[in-house]
Homo-oligomer: 119 residues x 2
DNA sequence: CAGCATCCTGTTGGATACTG
DNA sequence: CAGTATCCAACAGGATGCTG
């Protein structure tokens, strides 16, 4: 069906990276964890609007990808701390550049949206 | 349900920016357009794997958000050129920082994935 | 060529209830 | 507290066929 590779495949992982970033909760999790270790419940509160199912699922994926570390402590009650691995930390800078863009330019996007009839 | 705002809402547009970037095709389109104007068919081929439905839909959204400009030329046959607006251009740098990350680190992600049992 | 309309499937992801 | 299990709705998104 596809006779030749697309530009996005000119280097083997670009598409997969874009896929990774386009996961709904991953950027949010990395953003929060970039500010330090967090327990499961803290993550859920600070992210906001994420269901347990999705938070757990996404954390498992991030673990599998080597971006997040999970540590379990059996204090009186169970306690789990999540943090970025060194590899995970490397994603923070590109992400921050996006956050900065958001601060600088998203108002323009909003205005463009509003000025459009937008059926 | 949510009594207090999450950290992601500390500045009003961060979450919306993350949402925008987490759209499956937007990053791909911006990436290709960052290399210059493209016709509809060129976009489709260079991105690869995107259906007409989704390409059109996403382009319309990008237009509405003021990130992409659409120009129609009625030459012998219909021809449409898409290009980034100045606002759209501002997204290229954060995106490139992501591409660079992909080059530098995605191999590590891949290895982490493989070394995991991954039920 | 650059779409739009329709149909249809798979995945995403929330809600709820239960567990060690 | 930090999940797991189940169910279900909504939407993402592909395939196909048609149009100016």
């Amino acid at each position: 069906m596809e006779q030749f590779p697309s530009i996005l495949d000119t280097h083997p992982y670009l598409r997969q990276t874009l896929d990774l970033v386009s996961d709904k909760w991953i950027t949010a999790i990395i953003y929060v964890l970039s500010r330090g270790k967090r327990r499961y419940g803290e993550l859920q509160r600070e992210i906001g609007g994420v269901s347990q199912r999705m938070l757990t699922r996404t954390l498992r994926n991030l673990e599998k990808d080597g971006l997040v570390r999970r540590e379990e402590f059996t204090t009186p009650s169970l306690m789990v701390e999540y943090s970025l691995t060194p590899l995970g930390e490397t994603l923070v800078e590109p992400l921050q550049s996006l956050c900065q863009w958001s601060v600088d330019y998203f108002d323009e996007v909003r205005r463009a949206r509003e000025s459009n009839p937008s059926q």
